[in-house]
């Protein structure tokens, strides 16, 4: 990076955030191209301060100055909303800057404390996280924004911010973590709900990255997510089934069926699972997956289907569908994916399902136990 410093006198670390802010503000005006170039240099310098090089260590004092300066100038937010406009190399620099800044702790702080910039963002400037998600609007910013997000999402609080973002919720003064009301149903306007379309409608790169983030959100924060899915059961699975599972895109479809299986089989989501497998509609979707013409879709579908069949408290609706199709299912399962000869677990499970279906009573029986989740009575 040293070439960056050859041409102009080196800017003081303290002034870098201010300088970057000024350059960003001029990205629209006359001479934008020149400003973009200057901004690129400033970002390069910032990256250098933060990460040092392979040979030299960075100085904690300088990093501290830079991080606090960035907070003061609201630079993280500005970078997030302008990420897609930066030149190729600068987008990567910005990604590095985000990563370092958001995990920086002063030497004196306890290693368990929240990094200062992250704590600031979570409590005072949640828009930074929302805007990073909005990075999926643009092909250019999807990868850098996604990379930063996945790192930040290691924090439960950050995940909660994204899940509970809801512009319709007009409660002035409540910002960040303190504004979250887990019991309130989501309107579906928040940034989390945009992921469905990013995954399904984006280009391959965008969709794939968005899915990876989506999956992290839903699998890494078990308690938060279990509560969230229970509260927003209808909205979530309506979108999940109709946009993702029924997607025309092979990758979206296959990955989302797999993730569905993971979500349902997670212990923390037990209530969600029982509510999900209670619905005849869900079983129909799933049984059609078994008949998909792509083997891996069938295979992933099987891992959801098995939950319906294995459920000891099947709803009447589910029993009806299984009973009407009993003979078909038995014949079908017998030859289902039979070339999977060395997948012992699969073979065992298939056998188990056949036995379960065979042993079902001929007429539907009222289940002894109903799902605990409110509003999910069988239809």
């Amino acid at each position: 990076m040293s070439f960056l410093f050859g041409r102009r006198p080196r800017t003081n670390t303290v002034d870098l955030p201010k300088q970057a802010k000024e350059q960003i503000s001029r990205l629209d005006g006359p001479g934008a191209a020149v400003k973009a170039e200057e901004l690129a240099k400033t970002l390069g310098q910032m990256k250098f301060v933060l990460q040092g090089t392979q040979e030299t260590e960075s100085s904690p004092e300088q990093v501290y100055q830079l991080v606090t300066g960035m907070i003061q100038e609201d630079l993280l937010y500005l970078l997030a909303i302008n990420l897609y406009r930066l030149p190729f190399e600068s987008r990567k620099d910005a990604q590095v800057i985000f990563s370092y800044v958001l995990r920086f702790r002063p030497a004196t702080a306890s290693p368990k404390s929240e990094p200062i910039a992250l704590s600031y963002v979570i409590n005072n400037r949640p828009e930074v996280l929302v805007e990073l998600c909005n990075g999926y609007h643009h092909k250019e910013s999807a990868t850098p924004a996604g990379t930063v997000l996945r790192e930040v999402l290691k924090s439960d609080a950050a995940a909660a911010i994204i899940l509970y973002d809801d512009p319709n919720e007009n409660t002035p003064g409540s910002k960040g973590l303190t504004g979250i009301q887990p019991e309130t149903k989501q309107s579906g306007q928040g940034v989390f709900w945009k992921f469905f379309n990013w995954i399904d409608k984006g280009s391959f790169e965008v969709g794939a990255d968005a899915f990876t983030t989506f999956r992290e959100l839903l699998t890494k924060h078990k308690q938060i997510v279990a509560q969230y899915l229970a509260t927003n059961f209808e909205l979530f699975f309506d979108k999940y089934n109709n946009i993702l599972v029924k997607s025309e895109s092979y990758v979206t479809k296959r990955q989302s069926i797999k993730l569905l299986g993971e979500i349902l089989l997670d212990r923390a989501n037990y209530a969600v699972m029982t509510a999900y497998v209670d619905r005849g509609e869900h079983l129909k979707i799933c049984m059609n997956l078994l008949r998909d013409d792509r083997k891996m879709v069938q295979y992933e579908g099987f891992h959801v289907f098995k939950v319906f069949v294995a459920n000891p408290h099947k709803s009447i609706a589910v029993q009806k569908i299984l009973l009407i199709n009993r003979e078909r299912l038995l014949t079908f399962l017998k030859h289902f994916l039979e070339d999977r000869t060395d997948d012992e677990q699969f073979i065992d499970e298939r056998e188990f399902l056949i036995k379960q279906i065979k042993n079902m009573p001929p007429t539907p029986v009222e289940p002894t136990q109903k799902p605990a989740l409110l509003g999910s009575q069988s239809r």
Binding site: D200, R291, D292, D293, D343
Partner: protein
Amino acid sequence: MAQESGAGASDYSLLEELGSGSFGTVFKAIQRSNSEVVAIKMIDLESSEDDIQEIQQEISVLSTCASPFVTQYKASFLRGHKLWIVMEFLGGGSCLDLLKPGTFNEAHIAIICRELLLGLEYLHQEGKIHRDIKAANVLLSTTGKVKLADFGVAAQLTNIKSQRNTFVGTPFWMAPEVIQQAGYDFKADIWSLGITAMELIHGEPPNAATHPMKVLFLIPKAPAPRLEGSNYSKEFKDFVAQCLVKDCDRRPSAKELLKHKFIRYAGKVEALQELIERKQEYDGARSRPSHPKFYQETLNTMSPKVDSDEWVFDTVKASTIAPKKSTTKRRKLSVIHANGQGLQAGPEDALKRLDLKDSPLEYSSPPPITVKKGTIRKQPSIVQLGSPIKHRQSSTQKRPLQPDMNFGNTGSTVRLFRRVSDNSTLAQVSDSAPGSIRDENRPQSTDTTTKEGVLGRRVFNKVIDPAFQELHAQTGNQAKREALSRLADAWSALDAVDPEGEYQMLKIMIERVQSDSKLSALLPQSKGTVKDGTPQATPQKPSGKLVLAQNNPHLASHRRRQSSMQPEGLREKLVNLPGQSVPGLEHTKQLADVLYGRWTDGLRNRWPAV
């Protein structure tokens, strides 16, 4: 992810196959919108079990590289269940290809090493580790530019000081610290570069004759390999010695090595054109012209479903349920591209295909693949290792027990959780088992000089073989598939021995069909005879109008052939792979267990859920 898929693909006209790697086939193609020649890697996602995410990782590493020393990524999109990755086309081939006519001299190696160091300097500064530097992954442009390729196992670090433990790479080129899994960083690439330099001068990496599994124990234990003898300059010997410092802390960085004397005096990249010319002469001197393989749309749809078989959801009409819709759609796609043929592939279709009039190609599709009956049984011992086996099989598949230098000493890249499934493992092996399957130029046992003979061959390549492929692909029942394979084998035997007879056979069959009033209805009118297939296009010359339509119905898909034709036989082949106990190497089994244990540990680190 759905939207762009169709549009993206239609912008490219696919030309011949360039090669196939461990998990995909690479085609040369022309981008219609700007006439640029590109390389397209196609990965069949249906044949991979768990690793779509890993492919995404590869794309994300590639797409964030912009360096003249790294193959340029252009785009990627889905087409059905295939992922197309569009890359810059490099006409010079890989250094491994260029080694076929003979080893390189020091001057050439110095240039290549300098360019590679520049590429590594870029990657390392970006926080990326390539982890699989070897001649096979170094590509040359026709003008001699050197570029790093294949980022299948590359790592992206979020912190440039952090280290990795994952056990990936290709055994012969792996740095000791990678094998020991004591944490490694960018320096691992420098070691591999040193091994690559030795590979270029010797034609193979050190220890090439050793079993790759054994090599894994040898590298950390034995002293670092050195170039020896008076044949090599002092500078070159020192350069290799610098790269191959076992202690990675004392091993110089890419930046430092760029100042090495051996590198500083290296010449211009244009000099590497000599290597490319040498390879062309070498290819030209070989007796048979190469028969390019062409892309063809694969019929994705397997057994068409009988309506009565559908689920009954009392109130809902089965036919209105979504997946059915997608089925039809997909099938339609294939149909369109097959010019209306191939929908009802089956006997009728096979008959229709006797009409060859719109075949622009004289090139035959590769000759039938006959499964070599492996004599070695699958060792039961490996079964108990559990899931890692699969990965091992796919990842080490290219390495037969006795290294066969004719077909490249690439060894195989150890890819963590590589694209594997029960089916694909087999399919991939067929892709990479040299000699038996991949070599479409292997001599035919009979000269086909007579006209009947030529036609017979053609009948086989255009009609019989594709018909078998299609039928086989549509047959779900294992017993039926086997029977079909046997028939296909028998027919290919006939083809090898007596193409004239083959032609006569088919002729008589058609005549008989025609003479039967009911059967003749199956044949399209006025299309009953086999026409002369004069070549109308030379596919090697990429020019606008000669571009082969990707939907040409007569370009039989060799991929389908490879992936669907012979699961049983290939299963046997798998035994002949490293890591499995083989007479004389039983001692490695225990070691193998340890190693694969590490593999799985590495897996868990990456995907704790697995």
